[in-house]
């Protein structure tokens, strides 16, 4: 896995997460900005999927459990989709908080993925 790419994703996920939690607690309903920040995280995750397919073929094999890595990655890709669907259905400030909670969970999951790929010994 590519360290700088993971770190970028974690930074973006943390920023989006904090932004949405703060906006939600300040009473904002889901907006283009809050939903958009989570969609940016989603785009990076889809890029991560492509990286994870290509990396082992390009001489960057995982040291840890590939199955565990993919369970994390697929869950991570599904979370922003679920959160966005929720935000579209339930247009209250709490949906914005939910977007933020998802962003912060993703940051933790991204670090776990990096650890499985590079630090964990299967």
């Amino acid at each position: 896995m590519i360290l700088w790419f993971t770190l970028t994703q974690i930074a973006v996920a943390c920023a989006a997460g904090l932004f949405c939690v703060v906006a939600g607690l300040a009473g904002r309903r889901p907006s283009d900005w809050t939903v958009g920040s989570l969609l940016l995280v989603e785009l990076l995750l889809i890029a991560q999927v492509i990286v994870a397919i290509i990396a082992p073929l390009a001489g960057n094999p995982p040291t840890g459990d590939l199955l565990e890595f993919w369970v994390y990655l697929i869950s991570a890709v599904l979370l922003p989709i679920g959160g966005t669907a929720w935000a579209l259905l339930d247009r209250t400030r709490w949906s914005t908080v939910i977007l933020g909670v998802i962003g912060l969970s993703l940051a933790i999951m991204l670090w776990r993925m990096q650890a499985i790929w590079t630090l964990q010994v299967a």
């Binding site: 199955l67 979370l79 400030r93 949906s95 939910i98 909670v101």
Partner: protein, 155 residues
């Protein structure tokens, strides 16, 4: 003639709206709770799936508990969504009390008997691997259930 009437109507609407807002605010927090439960259910299910497929024989007891925890998280998520119905309200209580017991008992056992329970699961070390969310969540869940009894029937 019409302006004063409109004013009254508007004020009434305002009252009604602020009332609705304060109500949705409470159910709103409940929604955050449901989502956090859903995320925990997903995390616990994913993890126990990997553990059982890859290394069940290393710690059958801990990994079975891990799977059981996942099932209870899914049940609790569903029950919280449907908690306004009486039957499901009880299910939510049972599921969340079970979780609280699980995280406290397994958390203690993972320190006392690490050979049996020292393997990663949502509950080991009081949910440390999940930032202690598994420990805090049931308390928050029980508080929410207490303040949101199903309306109509009061026991």
């Amino acid at each position: 003639m019409t302006p004063p009437v409109e004013g009254v109507v508007e004020r009434k609407m305002d009252d009604a709206m602020s009332h609705t807002v304060s109500r949705t605010r409470m159910t709103g927090i409940g929604r955050v709770l449901v989502i956090v439960y859903a995320v925990m259910a997903l995390a616990a299910t994913g993890r126990s799936f990997v553990q059982i497929v890859r290394r069940f024989d290393e710690a059958p007891l801990a990994y079975s508990l891990s799977a059981l925890a996942a099932v209870v998280y899914i049940l609790a998520t569903l029950a919280l969504v449907l908690a306004h119905r009486r039957g499901w309200y009880t299910v939510a209580w049972v599921a969340i009390v079970f979780e609280l017991t699980g995280v406290v008992v397994v958390g203690a056992l993972s320190l006392l008997a690490p050979a049996l329970f020292g393997h990663d699961s949502v509950w080991s070390y009081f949910g440390m691997g999940y930032l202690f969310v598994p420990l805090v969540l049931p308390v928050f869940g029980l508080w929410w259930l207490r303040t949101h009894r199903p309306t109509g029937e009061k026991a």
